[in-house]
């Protein structure tokens, strides 16, 4: 699997659900490379913007697409990483705010 294939594969699955890739393609490709790097080192695609424990069970809420994506895209138009966004975010119909970490701290470590 390379990042280009992953891009096409995820796009075809996620877009019909209303989750679009960030219109900044370089930014997206870099994140997809990171997802593949995490798949290589942890065995699963942990969120590149969070510190994974390496334990799939502990990290299941941050396996991309993470458990927080829905709420973040609903509230901010973007997931925590900025990988998945809404159509309105890409069209700049809504402000591009910095998405705060929604994952409860007790989940961490």
């Amino acid at each position: 699997m390379n990042a280009d294939k992953l891009y096409e594969q995820l796009k075809s699955v996620q877009e019909p659900k209303g989750y679009y890739f960030n219109k900044d393609k370089d930014f997206v490709m870099d994140l997809l490379e990171s997802l593949l790097a995490n798949k290589e080192r942890y065995g699963y695609m942990a969120c590149p913007c969070r510190l994974a424990s390496g334990d799939r069970e502990k990290d299941k809420d941050i396996i991309c697409p993470c458990a927080y994506r829905e709420a973040d895209v609903r509230e901010y138009g973007s997931c925590y990483c900025g990988l998945y966004v809404s159509e309105a975010w890409n069209a700049e119909r809504i402000a591009h705010e910095y998405v705060p970490e929604r994952r409860p701290p007790e989940k961490f470590e």
């Binding site: 930014f27 590149p48 969070r50 910095y98 470590e109």
Partner: protein, 85 residues
């Protein structure tokens, strides 16, 4: 005026961490950083204690500029703390 001491806790894979490093590089700001995901487990534990003191959520990047702590790639706050117009 001496520039403030800048220390960043980052992840090697994180988009916001990369954006922050780029911002500091573009502004010619000297900084120390540690990619926490690349540390071995003892070192990682020790460094995470440092991060938690600055940012209990332990999210990345956590940036210390002098005495000020900024969590996330907040360009304007970072520039302000660095005194960059």
């Amino acid at each position: 005026m001496t520039p403030p001491d800048v220390k960043m806790y980052t992840l090697s894979t994180c988009s916001h961490c990369k954006s922050t490093k780029k911002l500091l590089n573009d502004c010619n700001v000297a900084y120390d950083f540690v990619d926490v995901d690349l540390l071995d487990s003892d070192e990682r534990k020790r460094i995470l204690e440092e991060v938690k003191e600055l940012n209990p959520k332990c999210s990345f990047p956590t940036i210390r500029i002098g005495e000020q702590v900024i969590v996330g790639y907040k360009e304007n706050e970072i520039k302000e703390a660095l005194g960059i117009p």
